[in-house]
């Protein structure tokens, strides 16, 4: 059974300027021990999904659809049960490790607090566990009495990962966990996350705009555009043989060294990501698409089955209804 199952999720922010549909019908599942990578640009709705799974959005935000975590319907939980589900069911590692820690509290105490608040152990046991957790994320246990300012950026991110593991969650959501880190430290943190996930059999939802990071850590990859998944499949294949023109453009932004197709040929998309309040008709990507045809502004593509576990929401993809597969 899958650890997390998201079915037709729709998240709408209500603002003074009207409703903003940030997520417009997203479904996916993550099994035990599996990593799903969620890619897309800022504003595509990927972090909104993370917020919905942990129900971190304000009450004015409208959430529809179904989110099932460990068999429990998250959107139906009472506040008390919800609190238990956070951290024990799912926990999150944010981008801003540098700011997420309390600067005037020892890191050990912060981990202990996470454990005792959820009544997983008494204070003494929690201290022992905090030391063990630090060791697990590659920090010497003696650092338990350090304050956050005594740690480097990479070490702080390790502490955040230790806290995320504190209550033995079955799902970890990593939202741009390495974006603010230096190259070498980024590689260290990625390696750590991957080995922990593997050793503990965790399910992980890994969110970032950097497709090259995702292909390294994920089993499956889902690419989002304008609040919907536009391509999904095994990570390696989606990255190396993208079907959707948007995925092609994203992959080209992270070229592999030695690939002559990209040498002295930077390529990008024209235009900008769409305003969620004014999503273009038909395929929302059509105004920026290099392969646009006459049907694109009219036909809303679905995530069609392109075979071998791959799905793409493009009329040109294999599996799209033959009616629409006219040549550009």
């Amino acid at each position: 059974m899958s650890v997390l199952s998201v079915d037709d999720l729709r998240v709408t922010y209500s603002t003074k300027g009207g409703d903003v549909p940030a997520v417009r019908g997203v479904s996916f599942e993550i099994d035990k021990g599996e990593v799903l990578g969620l890619a897309g640009e800022s504003g595509c709705g990927k972090s909104t999904i993370a917020g919905a799974i942990l129900r971190l959005h304000s009450p004015t935000t409208k959430i529809e659809g179904q989110i099932t975590l460990d068999g429990k319907d998250i959107l139906d939980l009472s506040p008390g049960k919800l609190r238990a589900a956070r951290w024990t069911g799912a926990s999150i590692v944010f981008q801003g490790a540098l700011h997420a820690l309390n600067p005037v509290q020892k890191i050990g105490d912060q981990i202990v607090e996470a454990i005792t608040v959820h009544r997983m152990a008494d204070e003494r046991e929690a201290h022992v566990r905090a030391g063990a957790l630090l060791e697990q994320v590659g920090l010497p246990p003696r650092r338990i009495d350090d304050y956050p300012h005594e740690l480097s950026g990479g070490q702080k991110q390790r502490v955040m990962i230790a806290m995320a593991l504190a209550c033995n969650p079955s799902l970890i959501i990593a939202d741009e966990p390495t974006t603010a880190l230096d190259v070498m430290v980024q590689a260290q943190v990625l390696k750590l996350l991957r080995s922990l996930q593997h050793d503990l059999g965790l399910a992980m939802l890994f969110i970032t705009h950097d497709l090259s990071v995702l292909v390294e850590v994920s089993d499956d990859l889902a690419v989002m555009y304008a609040g919907k998944i536009v391509e999904e499949g095994p990570a390696n294949e989606v990255f190396h043989t993208p079907v959707h023109p948007y995925t092609k453009a994203l992959a080209a932004a992270f070229p592999e060294i030695g690939d002559d197709r990209f040498r002295r040929r930077p390529s990008g998309l024209g235009g900008d990501p769409p305003d969620p309040q004014q999503i273009p008709s038909g395929c929302p990507f059509h105004p920026r698409c290099a392969e646009v045809t006459q049907v694109c502004p009219e036909l809303v593509p679905e995530l069609w089955d392109a075979g071998s576990g791959r799905f793409a929401a493009c009329v040109h993809a294999t599996g799209a209804p033959s009616l629409q597969t006219t040549n550009p």
Partner: protein, 354 residues
């Protein structure tokens, strides 16, 4: 799509525009009152320690390395924003003057593009004012061919891909997208007709799909206007897409420099190889990763400054090759590995690859 975009031809190495020789920049250490009274001495950080490099006309040179390696400091010294302790910087053969006022004409020729366009633009100025500001600071009332200020602003905006330029004059930065803001920053640099653009991580704050466009713009400027571009970046993939030559810095030194194809595909320095190892790619889980944080420029190790983290030393290979003593004790400068490709590593004379 990508494969229909023509490759920008590699320029022949033209005349040197900027020549940096034996550049050294120190940052004064600070010591607190209490520690001062207790007799602690402040320690200076050697951010840049004997760097020499040349930027040729119409060339894209990438300066790469971890944070704290001195790449941004080198760029800022080239901009004339930091006064070096030692060494010289020559622009078109003439040494930079040391006084701020006599640096002005030089600053006009060498323009900077920053990482975060939102922070670089004044939110209360219109796009027109932002682009015209450089002209006003440098008291440029008309262009070389008698163009008016408005004509110069319009030309800079359209060269930066903001067309038609008039449409943007009265807008404010918050009304533009991230990519457009970076184009405005570039227009602000172009308006003064510079010979060199120094771009410090010019796309790392931009959305993935917009990055390529900004890089393509920089490539076009160097091709059409023969502008030389120094790109400071931690991203070797980016260097592969745009740079003619790549210089890799470690702890204030250039440890490897050469044509991008050589440095990125046949690295001769173990540090370059380590940096290439951490470029994320599929199936790269088992690659070796250097341990530890970027090192501290207040405590530069003796011998080869990379030896405490060097995989060749750690694996025992240096010892087997009989160079361990040199690695530990003998500091070294760049040596020629092949034409245009220079490396500072004790492996080089042995003809060994890292």
């Amino acid at each position: 799509m990508t494969d229909t975009i023509p490759e920008t031809p590699a320029p022949q190495l033209g005349t040197p525009v900027i020549e940096v020789e034996h550049l050294e920049v120190n940052f004064k250490g600070r010591v607190g009152l209490v520690s001062g009274l207790m007799g602690h001495k402040s320690v200076d950080a050697k951010a840049v320690d004997d760097v020499s490099l040349t930027i040729h006309e119409g060339e894209v040179l990438a300066l790469a390395g971890e944070s704290g390696c001195g790449k941004t400091t080198t760029a800022r010294a080239i901009m004339g924003l930091i006064r070096p302790e030692k060494g010289s910087i020559r622009f078109k053969g003439k040494a930079l003057p040391r006084s701020t006022t006599s640096l002005r004409p030089y600053r006009r020729q060498v323009q900077m593009v920053f990482q975060d366009p939102t922070a670089a633009l004044n939110p209360r100025q219109t796009i027109y004012e932002i682009v015209a500001e450089g002209l006003r600071i440098h008291n440029v009332n008309e262009g070389p061919n008698g163009e008016s200020e408005e004509e110069l602003v319009a030309r800079a905006l359209s060269r930066a891909g903001m067309r038609p330029p008039e449409r943007f004059y009265l807008l404010y930065p918050h009304e533009l997208s991230g990519g457009q803001r970076q184009r405005v920053v570039i227009a602000g640099a172009l308006v003064l007709d510079p010979s060199v653009i120094v771009a410090d991580e010019p796309v790392s704050n931009l959305d993935a799909s917009v990055r390529g466009e900004i890089l393509a713009l920089l490539m076009k400027l160097r091709e059409e206007l023969r502008i030389s571009i120094l790109i400071v970046t931690h991203d070797l993939g980016l260097a592969w897409t745009v740079a003619d030559r790549v210089a890799v810095m470690y702890l204030g030194r250039v440890v490897e420099i050469g044509p991008a194809e050589d440095v990125l595909q046949k690295p001769k320095h173990p540090y370059t190889k380590a940096l290439l190892n951490v470029v994320p790619e599929a199936g790269g889980e088992d690659r070796p990763i250097l341990h530890g944080e970027p090192p501290d420029p207040t405590r530069i190790p003796g011998g080869c400054r990379f030896h405490p983290r060097c995989p060749v030393v750690a694996s025992g290979r240096a010892e087997a090759l009989g160079i361990l003593e040199r690695c530990n004790e003998q500091d070294l400068m760049l040596e020629t590995a092949s034409p245009d490709h220079e490396v500072a590593c004790h492996l080089l004379p042995l003809g060994e690859d890292p």
